[in-house]
Amino acid sequence: MRYAMVIDTRLCVGCMNCVVACKTENNVPDGFCRDWITETVRGEFPDVRLEIRSERCNHCDNPPCVSCCPTGASHVREGGFVMVEKNKCIGCKACLLACPYDARFTHPDGYVSKCTFCIHRIAEGLDPACVSVCPTHCMFFGDVDDPASGVSKLLTTRQHHTLLPEAGCRPHVFFLT
């Protein structure tokens, strides 16, 4: 089983519902965010291409944040969830420096925090909070090891990309184009 998130950039309007839902669901402290909206505009008018993406931790297959953690606080759980055990984290911030997506931050309480793909909701058979509130239904979550899952079908039928594939982390948040 390998969970992944698929986001259709042709449907995303950057409403930030996902950001608000994540902050509410995970009690993210004021001034911080576990997910965010990024817009890239390529070209010059009238030949312009806009891509709006809802970004977060990419729960990589080869996560440098895990290999550099000196206490094992950063670890990978079954299903590919990259997690941080807050009672093991010493706040050395090596993982912040190792992540090419800058997806982690230091919680005001001192430990490092990041997107968990709402693992507590997945355990109950629910979608992550961000996916469940998306008004344009541009976000999908599921098992990419299962060829019959919705995310597997999208990845086989639609063109997609990941962020910074050249960094070699094998991210598992895919953007449909």
């Binding site: 990024t38 890239t40 000196p70 206490t71 706040g91 420096l97």
Partner: protein
């Protein structure tokens, strides 16, 4: 093709530029590097001379004493940089072979032990009054010098741990994947060589200060005399001074060569490394790097040491101070410029 990039993320310490490691980190890297250099020099000296009794060799008297103080400062700085301090003990419940910080967390106390052992071994000449007051320390010294193999082991342990500690700080940075400025295998050697130069400079400065003190007319009134009276210690043997002078010249020359190779490697590497190294060529840290690290911290003391060797100028502690300024500036610049370097930064619009 023009590319415009906007994001709603504004996490403190992350955006717009990563600022996770503050000034405590370069301070830690700086003092630990000097301590490591002092250990290497002490280890080498013990292995070459193989003394049969405690001798007032600067490398083994002043060296470990300064090393213990510096390592204590480094450990304090390291502890202060942690944001979840109460969980620091978690470092010692596991060993993560892929995490250099895990290696470092074991290297530091081991090095502390090796420095203390060398300090105690030479205590009868460094702090004789203390050795007399605490006989067990004098006995430990006696046990170490009872057999040549123990002295050799002490030298080898100091050399090995000092080398590992010196190279570790650079290796730690170079394994942090997302900061292209640090992704060079030469960072470890640069930090090691810079630490050796700084350690040799510190010892040389001590010997110069002691020699100058002896030439003064008002005997017994300087702080060195007062310190000597208070500790009862022997004057550090100045026989090693010429070797330290040549050592500083060799280490600084090697440092210039390895820094040059680092630039060659980065500029001939893929685009991301080339963009990263422009931070040192034209970025906000470029002036600090070229003026303080290369100019003031390497070229100037190198020239002064060569003039000193050629007896064109008098021996002073100024070259040592310049080497120390350069060694700290090297770490400061690399830590902050490294955090600024990024896979996407430097691409138009990012």
């Amino acid at each position: 093709m023009p590319l415009e990039f906007t994001t709603t993320r504004d996490n403190p310490g992350i955006d717009p530029v990563l600022n996770a490691w503050l000034v405590a980190v370069p301070i830690d890297l700086f003092v630990v590097a000097i301590a490591a250099g002092l250990m290497v020099l002490a280890g080498l000296h013990l292995l070459i001379v193989r003394p049969t009794k405690p001798q007032p060799m600067a490398t083994c008297t002043v060296g470990p004493m300064l090393g213990v103080i510096l390592l204590s400062v480094g450990l304090t700085a390291l502890f202060l940089k942690l944001s979840h301090k109460l969980y620091v003990w978690q470092l010692y419940l596991t060993f993560e072979p892929t995490a250099p910080i895990s290696w470092g967390s074991y290297l530091m106390p081991l090095s502390y032990g090796a420095l203390l052992l060398n300090l105690v071994a030479h205590l009868p000449v460094t702090l004789p009054q203390l050795a007399e007051r605490i006989p067990v320390l004098a006995r430990i010294s006696g046990v170490i010098f009872a057999r040549p193999s123990r002295v050799i082991a002490l030298g080898a342990v100091n050399l090995g741990l000092g080398f590992s500690l010196g190279i570790y700080t650079g290796v730690m940075l170079s394994t942090l994947h997302a900061r292209p400025l640090w992704n060079s295998p030469l960072l470890g050697p640069i930090f090691l060589i810079s630490g050796l130069a700084a350690a040799a400079a510190v010892l040389h400065a001590v010997l110069v200060a002691v020699a100058r003190n002896e030439r003064r007319t008002a005997k017994g009134k300087s702080w060195i005399d007062r310190l000597a009276r208070w500790t009862g210690g022997s004057k550090p043997d100045a026989a090693i001074a010429p070797m330290l002078r040549w050592g500083i010249v060799a280490f600084l020359t090697l440092q210039l060569v390895v820094i040059g190779l680092y630039f060659v490697g980065m500029l001939s590497a893929p685009d991301v490394s080339q963009r990263a190294v422009t931070l040192l060529l034209a970025g906000p840290q470029a002036l600090l790097f070229w003026v303080l690290v290369v100019g003031v911290g390497t070229v100037a003391p190198l020239a002064m040491q060569l003039l000193e060797i050629g007896q064109k100028i008098r021996a002073t502690i100024i070259p040592a101070l310049l080497v120390l300024i350069g060694a700290f500036a090297l770490r400061y610049v690399l830590v902050f410029a490294g955090q600024e370097s990024h896979w996407t930064r430097g691409i138009a619009g990012f």
